[in-house]
Symmetry: C2
Subunit: 319 residues, 2 copies
């Protein structure tokens, strides 16, 4: 297991700069007033392809040697990572194949294809997914880019905090949502090098609190089938992200579905930006634990803005 | 009738700077690709109180002499102007009274009060509104700040384009929504001084096309009771705005309700920002008239982001 370093983060930043936005940092007098903290929102919802995932995926694709690149990249994901990997592969002019369950919504298949990716469907089970992927790698020699348990991906995600510190200066704390732990791991690497006094917090839905339980137990605990509105956060930690998080994170804070939805609605209403539920878990955690953040300068990573505008979680569900 | 000049705009900018945001300009590769134009979106939805109206209202309040200020300000409006005027008055420490129809939603009354304004309700007719306002002015000596037909308000709105040109340089065209014409008038003053080659376009809902018809006819035509999703654009031109617009605007482009709603949804989906329907009228007009804008550098004023998140126009109405 290769644990990436801050040098890897800096190299990633140089590598991906032509393909990503340096996203803006927003502030909110309203939320500062509500929390007593000074909050700096890093707006990865305004990132290319609508989420921070483009950072890690692009770094992985442009880290490949010419020989490796010829055989393309492969992954399994139905979300932002698949889009981002497809996009990066098309910039490099190589193939990208994504294994997705045959039950995935047509819109997600179309989105991957829209970014130039190829989709292979499989039965909707973990075993089918892993077998299909293994078969694909064996057949094509494609380079597998895991959505988060990959040192190139983690180094890429770390570039977000390099920009944040450059944009706003030293911070007392930073908070990011945790699913598989790629963003939190990358954030940890950057803060440890650039702003050593910054405490790193992760925010997680109570309904998918496997990272919280793993962190407290000292070993990885997997959730079977978590059910949360923050659908980007349903996955579990893996060895690499668990290692980095165990060593760097101060605490993991959990919040209810109601708290997530209310924070999401408030961000839309007051900041006038579109964020996905996973992004709102951070602000919800700050509202739920004001004593941790009061009087502090806090970085808040808004991870993405890809939502179905026809299905907003605060509205009654269509019959 | 005093017609404001560009010097008034510059004076307004110095006066209001401490109380407003210099809002960011966003670009969109997606919309550039769809239109063949290079679009620069001036994000007044990210302005204080969620709309450009804060510029003109703040300029009016801080233009008052000490003697005038003591008697406070008054207006009639149930929208963003009332909030903005209340906010500016509270910064100056003077009173602000808003005449609103007794049928106005409680949320709007609460919003004005939340910004420190006082509300006087009247019967929901034009006559009742004007009588109530006249009585209020006579009784208090308060300074009436019309939502748009006021040289101080127009000069304030013009500051938006001063920033835009400073941020992106010369433009071939600029387009703003038109209701009463305050923003389009201010934009015209600034462009005529700063970027003389810039053609000024206005965009208007077909369902409330009184400005279009007035512009073509050469005299003010009022709509009786226009019905459009762009509820900020239901009002009519007045003498001062009509005068400036007649002299400066190249054309007024009209769009259907469906075009407005689709452009609004696309802005949310692709740019990840919350804009109100009135703001989307501009992009809808560019989509509807690509031949005018193709190959051009175009400023697009996104005027505000105050929407009811429970009533989005692309969703089926709740029973």
């Amino acid at each position: 297991m290769y644990v990436p370093t801050f040098d890897d983060v800096l190299a990633a930043h140089e590598r991906i700069k032509p393909y990503i936005h340096r996203t803006p940092v927003m502030t909110s007098a309203t939320f500062d007033g509500m929390t007593g903290a000074k909050l700096f929102f890093k707006c990865e919802n305004l990132q290319k392809a609508g989420a921070f995932k483009v950072r890690g995926a692009t770094n992985a694709v442009f880290s490949l040697t010419e020989e490796e690149a010829k055989r393309g990249v492969v992954t399994h994901s139905s979300g932002n990572h698949a889009l981002s990997l497809s996009r990066a592969a098309s910039f490099r002019g190589i193939s990208c194949t994504v294994v997705m369950p045959e039950t995935a919504p047509q819109a997600k298949l179309d989105a991957v294809r829209g970014y130039g990716g190829e989709v292979i469907t499989c039965a909707p089970s973990l075993q089918a997914r892993e077998e299909t992927l293994a078969d694909l790698v064996e057949r094509t020699g494609g380079n597998f880019v895991h959505p988060y348990n990959d040192h190139r991906v983690i180094a890429g995600q770390g570039t977000c905090s390099v920009e944040l510190i450059d944009q706003v200066g030293a911070l007392d704390a930073v908070i990011a949502p945790i699913g598989g732990g790629g963003m939190v791991s990358g954030t940890s690497l950057s803060m440890a090098a650039l702003s050593t006094g910054t405490k790193v917090y992760a925010a997680e839905p109570k309904n998918a609190d496997d990272a919280y339980r793993s962190f407290k137990a000292g070993h990885i605990i997997e959730d079977d089938a978590p059910d949360t509105v923050a659908d980007g956060l349903k996955v579990s930690l893996r060895d690499l992200t668990f290692h980095i998080i165990s060593n760097h994170v101060t605490d993991i804070l959990t919040v209810t579905e109601e708290q997530i939805i209310e924070a999401m609605r408030l961000i839309w209403q007051r900041m006038k930006i579109v964020v996905e539920p996973s992004s709102a878990v951070t602000l919800a955690a700050i509202f739920a634990h004001p004593e941790i953040f009061e009087g502090k300068r806090v970085g808040v990573i808004l991870t993405g803005g890809n939502v179905d505008l026809n299905k907003l979680p605060w509205l009654p569900k269509a019959a």
